[in-house]
C-alpha cells in the first residue's frame, strides 16, 4: 500500500499511453470507455489515499528510493489529496460529457484529458519545487493542445496569447528556482522550510526576491490581478467542456501559493514569514472587484462563467492572505465548491448554446431552448450554488467565509467588497437566466433541425456534477472537519519536515 500515493499520477499517465496505442487509437467507442474507467480508477485511488492519510497522517514517498533532501519526494497531506479527488472527479465528468460528440471535434481529446489530469495531480502531490515546475509544464502542454481542440481562428488567437504568457511565466519560474537554489542549496519543500529560517545577511533579500518571483508565476496561473487578462479570452473561447476542465487550473496556482507561502515562507521562516500577505491582500480585493465588474459586463454565458472564475480566485486569495488556520480551512472548502460550480456552469452554458442556434449562449432574446425544463433546472441549480444562496454549498461557504474573516482587522474592507461582489453575481446570473429562458420568441412549437438534445451521457454528467453542491451541504460537517484537518496539516510545517526527514533516517 505504500505505493498508493503514486497512483493518482501514474494511472492517468498509463491511461494516456493506452489511449494512444492501437486498440484504442482507432476505436472511438473503446477509447471513450477506457478513458471513463481510467478516470474512475484514479478517483477511487485518490479516495483510498485520502482515507489512509486521514487515519495515519501525511505520507511521504521517495521516488526511486533516493533520500529526501537529494531525491524527489511525493508528499500527500489531506489538502493535496482532497484536491486530487476533486480533479479526478472533474475529469471523469468532463470525459463522460465530451463522449457525446465533443471529443470528435479534434484528435486526441481523451489522452490529452488524462495527461492534464496527471499534471494537475502531480502538481498537488509533489514535495519538490522543481518537480512542481515539471508537472506545471506537463499540465500546461496538455492544456495548450486541449485549447486548440476545436479549430477556429478566435481560438488560435486566444491560444497564442495563452501559450506565450505561460512560456514567459515558466522562464520566471525557473529564474526563481535558480535564485532559491543558489541561496538555500535545496529544492525539497520541507528542507527549504528548515533552511529559510537559518538564512542570514544578504541571503535573506535574495530568498525574498526568489519567493516573490514565485508569487508572480503562481499569480499568473491563478489569474490574480493584474495577471488575469488572459483568462476571460481563453476560457470564453475554449470549448465549454474543456473550459470546465480548466476550472481546476487556476486553482493549481492558488494551491501553489498556499503551499509555498504557508509551508516554506510560513510562521517558522523568521524574517521571511508572510512575505506574500502584504501583496496578496490588496490584489485579492481588486481581483474581486474586477471579476464582479466582468460578470456584470459579460455578453455571453461562457464569458460570464469565466469572470466568475476570477471572482472565486479573488475570494480564495483573500482567505489565503489572512494566513490563519481557520481562513485556510474555509479556503479549502470554498476551493472545492467554486471549482465544481464554475465547471457546472460551463457545461450548462454549452448545452444552452447548442440549443439556441446561431445566437448560441449570448444573453439576448432569441428562440427558446429545446429542453427548457432540464436546462432551466440545471441553470438555476448552478446559479444558486455560484451566487451563494441557500440551500447549496455556496451558502455554507459564504457564511463560513464571513465568519472566518469577522475577527480580522481588515474585515471592514473585505465584507462590503465580498458581499457586493456576490450581489453582482446574483444580479448578473438572474439577468442571464431571464434573457435565456423567459424572454424567448413565441414560436415554441416550431422544430429546429440544428438542436442538439442533451442525451443520456450529457444529462448524467450534468446530474453528477450538480449533485456535488448538494452533497457538500448535506455532508458539510465531515467536509469542514476534513478542511480543518487539512488546514492544520498545512500550517504545521513541522509535521511535514518531520515526516520527510523520518524517511531519510529510515534508509
Amino acid at each position: 500500500m505504500q505505493h498508493l500515493i503514486t497512483l493518482p499520477v501514474l494511472l492517468p499517465l498509463l491511461a494516456g499511453i493506452i489511449l494512444l496505442l492501437p486498440p484504442c487509437g482507432k476505436n472511438l467507442v473503446l477509447r471513450r470507455w477506457v478513458a471513463t474507467f481510467m478516470a474512475l480508477f484514479t478517483l477511487v485511488a485518490s479516495t483510498l489515499l485520502l482515507t489512509t492519510i486521514l487515519g495515519s497522517g501525511p505520507l511521504v514517498y521517495a521516488i526511486g528510493e533516493w533520500q529526501p533532501p537529494f531525491g524527489i519526494v511525493l508528499y500527500a497531506d489531506p489538502l493535496a489529496v482532497a484536491l486530487c479527488i476533486l480533479t479526478s472527479f472533474l475529469s471523469l465528468v468532463t470525459i463522460v460529457y465530451a463522449s457525446r460528440g465533443d471529443d470528435k471535434a479534434g484528435s486526441f481529446f481523451h489522452p490529452l484529458a488524462h495527461f492534464l489530469l496527471m499534471g494537475v495531480n502531480g502538481a498537488f502531490l509533489t514535495g519538490d519545487l522543481f518537480n512542481l515546475f515539471v508537472f506545471f509544464e506537463v499540465l500546461l502542454i496538455a492544456s495548450y493542445a486541449l485549447l486548440m481542440h476545436k479549430k477556429d481562428k478566435h481560438t488560435t488567437k486566444a491560444a497564442l496569447h495563452y501559450v506565450i504568457l505561460n512560456l514567459v511565466g515558466s522562464s520566471i519560474f525557473l529564474i526563481a528556482l535558480g535564485v532559491l537554489y543558489g541561496v538555500l542549496g535545496t529544492l525539497n519543500m520541507a528542507d527549504m522550510a528548515v533552511k529559510v529560517a537559518l538564512l542570514q545577511g544578504d541571503d535573506i533579500y535574495l530568498a525574498k526576491i526568489g519567493g516573490l518571483l514565485l508569487l508572480i508565476v503562481f499569480a499568473l496561473k491563478a489569474a490574480l490581478l493584474p495577471l488575469h487578462l488572459w483568462l476571460p479570452a481563453t476560457y470564453g473561447r475554449a470549448m465549454p467542456v474543456i473550459a470546465a476542465q480548466f476550472a481546476i487550473m487556476t486553482k493549481v496556482g492558488v494551491y501553489a501559493i498556499m503551499r509555498v507561502f504557508t509551508m516554506i515562507f510560513g510562521e517558522q521562516a523568521g524574517e521571511l514569514s508572510g512575505i506574500a500577505s502584504t501583496w496578496l491582500w490588496p490584489l485579492a480585493l481588486v481581483t474581486l472587484v474586477v471579476g464582479a465588474v466582468g460578470v456584470l459586463a459579460a455578453e455571453d454565458l461562457r464569458r460570464l462563467s469565466a469572470n466568475l472564475v476570477i471572482v472565486s480566485v479573488g475570494t480564495l486569495i483573500a482567505m489565503v492572505a489572512l494566513n490563519n488556520e481557520q481562513a485556510t480551512a474555509v479556503a479549502i472548502y470554498y476551493l472545492i465548491h467554486s471549482t465544481i460550480a464554475c465547471a457546472a456552469m460551463f457545461l450548462v452554458a454549452d448545452m444552452i448554446a447548442l440549443q439556441r442556434g446561431k445566437v448560441q449562449d449570448r444573453l439576448v432574446n432569441s428562440r427558446g431552448v429545446a429542453q427548457p425544463k432540464l436546462l432551466g433546472f440545471c441553470f438555476v441549480f448552478a446559479a444558486i450554488a455560484l451566487a451563494g444562496l441557500p440551500p447549496l454549498s455556496g451558502f455554507v461557504a459564504k457564511l463560513w467565509l464571513l465568519d472566518a474573516s469577522y475577527g480580522a482587522q481588515v474585515a471592514w474592507v473585505f465584507w462590503p467588497i465580498y458581499l457586493l461582489a456576490s450581489l453582482a453575481t446574483l444580479v448578473a446570473l438572474s439577468r442571464a437566466g431571464t434573457s435565456l429562458f423567459w424572454h424567448d420568441h413565441p414560436n415554441q412549437d416550431e422544430q429546429f433541425e440544428d438542436n442538439v438534445y442533451a442525451g443520456k451521457r450529457r444529462t448524467w454528467a450534468l446530474v453528477l456534477i450538480l449533485a456535488v453542491p448538494l452533497m457538500m451541504t448535506v455532508f458539510a460537517a465531515p467536509l469542514s472537519e476534513m478542511s480543518n484537518q487539512a488546514a492544520a496539516a498545512l500550517h504545521n510545517s513541522q509535521v511535514a519536515i518531520d515526516t520527510v526527514f523520518a524517511l531519510a533516517k529510515e534508509q
Partner: protein
C-alpha cells in the same frame, strides 16, 4: 568570469524581453528562445561557477554541484518542446488570422476599421 557570465545572462534577458514585446509572432518566438537560453545559463550558475571540478563528493576538496546540471538538462528539454509548439502555433496563427500580428490584426488596420 562571474562578471562576464552575469553580463551574458543579462544581455540575453534584455534582448529576449525586447523581442517578446514586439508585436509579431516571429520576433516573439525568438525572444522566448533567448529568454530560455538566459534562464538555462542562470540555472546552471546557481550551483556556483567552477572550472575543472568533478561533480562527485569526496574525490577532492572542492566539487561542482551536480544538481543544477540535472535541472538545466530538464529545463532544456522542456524549453525545446515548448519552443517547437509555439513555432507551430505561430504558423497556424499566420494561416488562420491572415497575418503574423500577435493580436490577429495590426493596429493600423484596426483603426481604419473602427473609423469606417
Amino acid at each position: 568570469m562571474e562578471l562576464l557570465y552575469a553580463s551574458c545572462v543579462g544581455l540575453l534577458v534584455a534582448c529576449g524581453i525586447y523581442l517578446i514585446l514586439r508585436a509579431r509572432t516571429f520576433p516573439v518566438v525568438l525572444g522566448l528562445t533567448m529568454l530560455s537560453y538566459a534562464v538555462n545559463l542562470f540555472l546552471f550558475s546557481s550551483g556556483r561557477l567552477k572550472i575543472n571540478q568533478a561533480p562527485v563528493l569526496g574525490q577532492s576538496a572542492s566539487y561542482a554541484d551536480p544538481l543544477p546540471q540535472a535541472l538545466v538538462l530538464t529545463a532544456i528539454v522542456i524549453g525545446f518542446a515548448m519552443t517547437a509548439f509555439v513555432v507551430i502555433l505561430a504558423i497556424r496563427g499566420r494561416a488562420d488570422l491572415g497575418n503574423d500580428h500577435v493580436d490577429g490584426q495590426p493596429r493600423a488596420s484596426r483603426a481604419t476599421k473602427g473609423s469606417k
